[in-house]
Symmetry: C2
Subunit: 137 residues, 2 copies
Amino acid sequence: MDCIFCKIVKGEIPSYKVYENEKVLAFLDINPANYGHVLVIPKEHYNNILDVEEDDLIEITKAVKKIAEILAILLEPDGINILQSNNPAAGQVINHIHFHIIPRFVNDKVTFHWEPNKLEKKQFEELAKRLKEELEN
Amino acid sequence: MDCIFCKIVKGEIPSYKVYENEKVLAFLDINPANYGHVLVIPKEHYNNILDVEEDDLIEITKAVKKIAEILAILLEPDGINILQSNNPAAGQVINHIHFHIIPRFVNDKVTFHWEPNKLEKKQFEELAKRLKEELEN
């Protein structure tokens, strides 16, 4: 398999590791949005949030929190974003699920922006009903 | 306490609920980035990723995956972003931890953008070392 992150896990490609346990690996993003930008991945290969095993996702989440706490203490950023992108349309470049932990600073160059979509009350109600029905199954 | 999301949990403010269990609540964002934009929150009040209890964070994570799976099936988006913002500098508006699940569509109006920061090898190494030391404690 020709996955860059799998190669990082195996040590075939170098990385700036910051945390590792049996299930997950965290390392510095080499194209950081800001100083302290960390990626957290499962050692096992999954494409995204849809196919990741729940146990691995939980281990990733625990590592994300732990690392965010340390970044907050060490770098004292003004904020932190946690971002996980699925598919190229969402900005996913490497096809191995990863969570970005991005320290934020006032007036930095990171942009997370959207204009609210206008939906009618009826559209909200219909959508909520459809999702609720599926989620109750 | 004057928290909008706590009021939604208590039913004092209406919301378009899509999923609920003992620990978490999920509802439609009323200012959606795209059709199908869902927020997942713990019923307990926490400000952000730093103070949330791990058990609640795990329950949120499980709900996020479950809802993302249903959104993927029902809406067939081109991608999905999971975003969690801490502090106003990171775009957090409501001071009650929440995870955005945002279905993405090619050519939609959502922007997640950053220009890579250039760091020297030595800077990466020093930063990784500092983080690793703290994370091993």
